[in-house]
C-alpha cells in the first residue's frame, strides 16, 4: 500500500520547534515524491496521538518514550544542521517501508 504516510511531530511545550521540523519533513517528503500528512503535538500527548492519529513515523525535538512500537527520530538535526542529511535519509527510508 503506497497511500498517504502519517508523521507525528512532537516538541516540548511550544509549537515552535515542531512547526519548523514539520515544514522540513513536508519538504523532503515532497522532493522524494512521498505523500505525507503531518500532525504536531506536545511530548506528553504522544501516546494519546498514537491512538487517534496512528502515525507511521514520529519525529521529536524533545525526548519521547522509546517503547512506542513506531520508528522515532530525533528531529534536532533539522534545527542544528548537523547530521541533517543522515536524518533525511533515515526518515525517507522509514516512510518508504511504512
Amino acid at each position: 500500500m503506497n497511500g498517504e504516510k502519517r508523521v507525528l511531530i512532537a516538541c516540548g511545550t511550544s509549537i515552535a520547534t515542531a512547526t519548523v521540523v514539520a515544514e522540513k519533513v513536508k519538504e523532503i517528503a515532497k522532493e522524494a515524491g512521498i505523500s505525507v500528512r503531518v500532525a504536531q503535538c506536545k511530548a506528553a500527548e504522544v501516546r494519546g496521538r498514537i491512538t487517534t492519529f496512528n502515525p507511521h513515523v514520529i519525529v521529536a525535538t524533545t525526548p519521547v518514550p522509546k517503547d512506542l512500537g513506531i520508528p522515532v527520530f530525533n528531529g534536532v538535526p533539522f534545527l542544528s544542521g548537523v547530521g541533517m542529511d543522515v536524518l533525511k535519509a533515515q526518515i525517507l527510508e522509514a516512510l518508504r517501508k511504512a
Binding site: G12, V20, T61, T62, P63, N74, V76, L79, G81, V82
Partner: protein, 169 residues
C-alpha cells in the same frame, strides 16, 4: 483613546545594544539565562516572572543546539511571561553546558546564548525558522563568536532576521 493606544508601528530590530552581553562570563546555563533575562527585564520586554519560567523550562525542555563547531542555546519562556518581542544575546568567553535539545541526558558546550522573548507563538515559529538558518552557517556563528561589541552583534542579527513585527504603540 482606544484608537491611539492600539496604533501600531512596524519595528524590525530584534536585538538592541543594551540586550547584548559581550564578552559574557557565566557559571552555568542558569546563570546565563538569568543575566540575559535581567537585560530583557530592564528593557521592559519581559515580566518579572520570565527568568524563573525560562530556567524551569530549560530544565524540562533543554534548548542547547549541537550546531557546527560553536554551540548555541535558545532559552525562552512561555508567551504569557513576555511583554514585547526581543532577543537578548550573550557571547560567552568560556562555554557553559546546556542540555541538548531532544536528548534525555546529552549536553552541548554553548558559546552563543540567545534568550528569546516572543509574545505570540506564530511569531516564534517565524523567528525560529530564520534563527535556524542563521545557526546552520558556520561562518555566521564564527562572526557572532568573534564579535567584540554589542553594535556588531546587532548588525549581524539585523542582517539575518527579517520579520516585520507590529508593536503596540
Amino acid at each position: 483613546m482606544e484608537a491611539t493606544r492600539k496604533q501600531t508601528e512596524v519595528r524590525r530590530a530584534w536585538v538592541r545594544e543594551d540586550l547584548v552581553i559581550v564578552p559574557m562570563r557565566a557559571e552555568s546555563a542558569t546563570d546565563a539565562i538569568a543575566q540575559l533575562g535581567a537585560r530583557l527585564q530592564a528593557g521592559g520586554f519581559v515580566k518579572d516572572s520570565w527568568i524563573q519560567a525560562a530556567i524551569e523550562r530549560e530544565k524540562a525542555f533543554a534548548t542547547g543546539l549541537p550546531t557546527p563547531e560553536i554551540g548555541v542555546a535558545i532559552p525562552h519562556a512561555d508567551v504569557e511571561h513576555v511583554l514585547q518581542q526581543a532577543i537578548a544575546v550573550g557571547v560567552l568567553e568560556e562555554p557553559v553546558e546546556f542540555g541538548e535539545m531532544g536528548s534525555p541526558d546529552g549536553t552541548v558546550p554553548v558559546r552563543i546564548v540567545c534568550a528569546l522573548a516572543v509574545a505570540r507563538s506564530e511569531l516564534l515559529v517565524k523567528l525560529l525558522q530564520q534563527l535556524v538558518e542563521m545557526f546552520q552557517s558556520p561562518e555566521v556563528l564564527k562572526q557572532i563568536a568573534e564579535a567584540r561589541s554589542p553594535a556588531s552583534i546587532v548588525r549581524i542579527f539585523d542582517h539575518h532576521i527579517q520579520i516585520e513585527q507590529e508593536v503596540e504603540g
